[in-house]
C-alpha cells in the first residue's frame, strides 16, 4: 500500500520532471521555431503599433484572434483575406457604430485615424500569414441561402 512519503515523492518528482520538460519545450518553441513559423521578420513597427491599438482598445473583448478572445464578434485571423483591406479600413474609421443597421450587433465607433487604421491592417495582415497548424479549418460544405 502506498505510504504518505511515497505519495510525496510521486508529487515532487512528477512536478519537477514535467516542469523541466515543459520549460524545455517552451524554449524550443520560442527560440528555435517561433521566427520561422510566424514570419517574425515581417513584424514591422506598423504591425507592433497595430498590436498596441488592438490591446489598448480590448478588441479581444468582443472578437477573437487565433481563436482567442470573446465570442461576440467575428474571428479576425483571416479578416483581410475574407473581406479585403478597404472594407476593414471602413469599419475601423467609421464615426458611427458599425453594424447598427445591418447585423443588429453594434461595434463601438472607434473612429480611428487613417494611420491607426493602416497599422491595424498591417497587424491583421501579419496575423493572417502565421502558420496556425490548419486553423481556421475550411468549412466542409458550402450552403446557399434561399431567402
Amino acid at each position: 500500500m502506498l505510504t504518505k512519503s511515497q505519495a510525496k515523492i510521486f508529487f515532487l518528482a512528477g512536478t519537477i520532471i514535467f516542469s523541466v520538460l515543459f520549460l524545455g519545450l517552451s524554449y524550443d518553441t520560442h527560440v528555435n521555431k517561433h521566427d520561422d513559423q510566424t514570419n517574425a521578420d515581417k513584424i514591422t513597427p506598423e504591425v507592433v503599433a497595430g498590436k498596441h491599438l488592438w490591446e489598448a482598445n480590448n478588441c479581444m473583448g468582443c472578437h477573437t484572434i487565433f481563436g482567442e478572445g470573446a465570442y461576440y464578434a467575428p474571428e479576425l485571423t483571416k479578416v483581410i483575406e475574407r473581406r479585403g483591406a478597404p472594407y476593414v479600413k471602413g469599419v475601423l474609421m467609421s464615426p458611427t457604430p458599425w453594424g447598427e443597421h445591418t447585423s443588429g450587433r453594434k461595434m463601438v465607433a472607434y473612429g480611428f485615424s487613417e494611420e491607426e487604421a493602416n497599422n491595424l491592417i498591417s497587424y491583421f495582415e501579419w496575423i493572417g500569414k502565421v502558420d496556425l497548424n490548419g486553423f481556421p479549418a475550411k468549412p466542409k460544405y458550402e450552403i446557399k441561402k434561399t431567402k
Binding site: 502506498l2 517552451s26 513559423q37 510566424t38 517574425a40 489598448a56 479549418a137
Partner: protein, 445 residues
C-alpha cells in the same frame, strides 16, 4: 474558531461575495446582448462587460482563497495570524485596485489581453499586495507550532500563483508569444496551481467534517496534486494548438490534456470515499454539500466538459466558439466558486458562534444555484454546438449564425435567473450569521 485572528477571514469572504454579486450583473448584460438586446451599449459595451465579468471572477476567487488561507493557516499551524493589521491593509488595497480596474474598463483603460485586462500600473500594485499576503501567511507558518501537508499544499498553491502572474506582464511584439506566455498565467493557474489551493481547502474541510485521519487524507492529497501537475503542466499544450506554435503541441497537448480529468476524478472519488469512511457526523450538512458538490461538479465541468473538446481534431472546430464558454462556466463554478462557498459555509458558524447549520434557505441556495448552473451550461453547450455546425462545418457567416442561436440565450438567461436566486439566498444566509465575535472563540474551546 480557535484563534481570534481567524476573524480576518470574514471580511475577505464578505468582499468576495460582494464582487460575485457584481460579476453576475455583468453576466446578465452579456447574456441580453447575445439575445440582441444591447441597450446599454453606449455606456457598457460588450468588451467592458466581458472584462468586468471575468476580472471580478478572478478577484472574488482570489479574495476567497486569501480568506480561506487566513482561516485555515492559523488553525493548521496552531498559531495566531502573524499580522491581522497587514491583512486588513491588504484587503482594503486589493479592493481599491479591483474597483479602480473595474471603473477603468468603462473608460477604455485596460490591457486588452483575455483575463489579464488589468492596466499595467495596477498590475504592480497587485504584485505588492500579493507579496504582503504571502509574507503574512509564511510568517504565520514559520512561527507556528506545526507544519501540516494541508497548510503546505495550500501555501504552495498561493506562492506559485503569485510567481506565475509574472510571465503575463512581459511585452511581446509577436501575438504568438504574447498568447503563449499569457497561458503560462491563465492555464497554469486554473489547471495547475489553483488546484493545489482547491486541494488544500478540500483536505482541510474533509479532515474537519468527516473526522477521517489526517495522515490518510493528506496522503491522497499528494496523489491528487501529483496527478494535477503530471497532466496539467504539459496539458497547457492544448492552448498552443492554433496560435502559431509548433505542431508537436498538437499531440503533446492532446495526450496530456486527455489525462487532465484524472486529477478531478481522483478528487471526486477521494472526497466521496472520505465521506463514506468518516465516522464523525458533523452537523454542518450545508458545508458538506458544498464540499462534495465542488469535488463532483469540478470533475464534470473542468474534467469531462474540458476533455469533450480538448483533442486537436475536435478543437480545430470548437476553438473560439461558445463551446469554450460552456466548459468555462461549469469548470470555474465547480472547481473554485463552490470550494470557496464550501469553506465560507463551514467557517461562518465557527466565526460567529451561530449554529445555523441546515436551515431551508441554505439548502435552497445550494440546489437552485447548482441546477441553474447546469441549465446555463446546457444552454451554452447547445448554442456552441449549433455554432460549430453552422459556422465551422457549413460555412454560414458568423453574424448570421449568431442570429440563429439567439433563442438559446433566452434559455441561458432564464437558467441564470435561477442561479442568481440561489446565490442571493446564499448571501442572505451569510448575513443571517451576523459578524464574527470573540464569544465564538470561547464557545469553540
Amino acid at each position: 474558531m480557535k484563534y481570534t485572528t481567524q476573524k480576518v477571514a470574514y471580511w475577505f469572504f464578505l468582499s468576495a461575495l460582494g464582487l460575485l454579486a457584481l460579476q453576475i450583473v455583468y453576466g446578465f448584460i452579456m447574456g441580453f446582448a447575445h439575445m440582441g438586446m444591447d441597450g446599454l451599449h453606449d455606456f457598457i459595451p460588450f468588451n467592458t462587460a466581458r472584462a468586468v465579468h471575468t476580472n471580478l471572477l478572478v478577484c472574488w476567487l482570489l479574495l476567497g482563497f486569501m480568506g480561506s488561507a487566513y482561516y485555515i493557516i492559523p488553525e493548521e499551524s496552531q498559531n495566531e495570524l502573524y499580522s491581522p493589521k497587514l491583512a486588513y491593509i491588504q484587503l482594503i488595497s486589493f479592493l481599491a485596485v479591483g474597483v479602480t480596474a473595474v471603473i477603468a474598463y468603462h473608460f477604455n483603460w485596460w490591457e486588452g489581453r483575455k483575463f489579464l485586462e488589468i492596466p499595467r500600473p495596477l498590475d504592480y500594485l497587485v504584485v505588492v499586495n500579493v507579496l504582503a499576503f504571502l509574507f503574512n501567511i509564511l510568517m504565520t507558518l514559520f512561527k507556528g507550532k506545526r507544519q501540516t501537508t494541508t497548510a503546505l499544499v495550500l501555501t504552495m498553491g498561493l506562492l506559485f500563483s503569485a510567481l506565475l502572474y509574472l510571465p503575463g506582464m512581459i511585452w511581446f511584439d509577436s501575438q504568438t508569444l504574447d498568447s503563449f506566455y499569457r497561458w503560462y498565467v491563465v492555464h497554469l493557474w486554473v489547471e495547475g496551481v489553483w488546484e493545489l489551493i482547491m486541494g488544500g481547502i478540500l483536505a482541510f474541510l474533509l479532515i474537519k467534517i468527516t473526522g477521517v485521519d489526517r495522515e490518510v487524507i493528506e496522503k491522497w492529497l499528494y496523489v491528487i496534486v501529483g496527478l494535477t501537475f503530471l497532466s496539467g503542466i504539459l496539458g497547457t499544450g492544448h492552448h498552443f494548438y492554433y496560435i502559431g506554435a509548433p505542431s508537436y503541441w498538437l499531440w503533446i497537448g492532446g495526450i496530456f490534456s486527455a489525462l487532465e480529468p484524472l486529477a478531478f476524478l481522483a478528487m471526486a472519488l477521494f472526497a466521496l470515499n472520505m465521506y463514506r469512511k468518516g465516522e464523525k457526523k458533523h452537523p454542518n450538512k450545508t458545508a458538506l454539500n458544498w464540499t462534495l458538490g465542488a469535488a463532483i461538479t469540478s470533475f464534470v465541468g473542468a474534467g469531462l466538459l474540458g476533455a469533450a473538446h480538448t483533442l486537436p481534431n475536435v478543437n480545430l472546430y470548437t476553438h473560439g466558439t461558445l463551446v469554450t464558454a460552456m466548459h468555462g462556466h461549469m469548470a470555474f463554478w465547480g472547481a473554485y466558486a463552490m470550494i470557496v462557498l464550501a469553506i465560507i459555509a463551514y467557517a461562518m458558524p465557527n466565526l460567529t458562534g451561530r449554529k445555523l447549520f441546515n436551515n431551508g434557505i441554505s439548502q435552497y441556495a445550494f440546489w437552485l444555484s447548482n441546477i441553474g448552473m447546469i441549465g446555463m451550461t446546457v444552454a451554452f453547450g447547445v448554442a456552441g454546438v449549433a455554432q460549430v455546425y453552422l459556422e465551422r462545418i457549413l460555412g454560414v457567416d458568423f453574424m448570421e449564425t449568431q442570429k440563429e442561436i439567439e433563442p438559446h440565450f433566452l434559455v441561458l438567461v432564464l437558467c441564470a435567473s435561477g442561479f442568481t436566486t440561489g446565490v442571493t439566498l446564499y448571501i442572505i444566509n451569510f448575513f443571517k450569521f451576523g459578524k464574527p465575535t470573540n464569544e465564538a472563540l470561547v464557545a469553540a474551546s
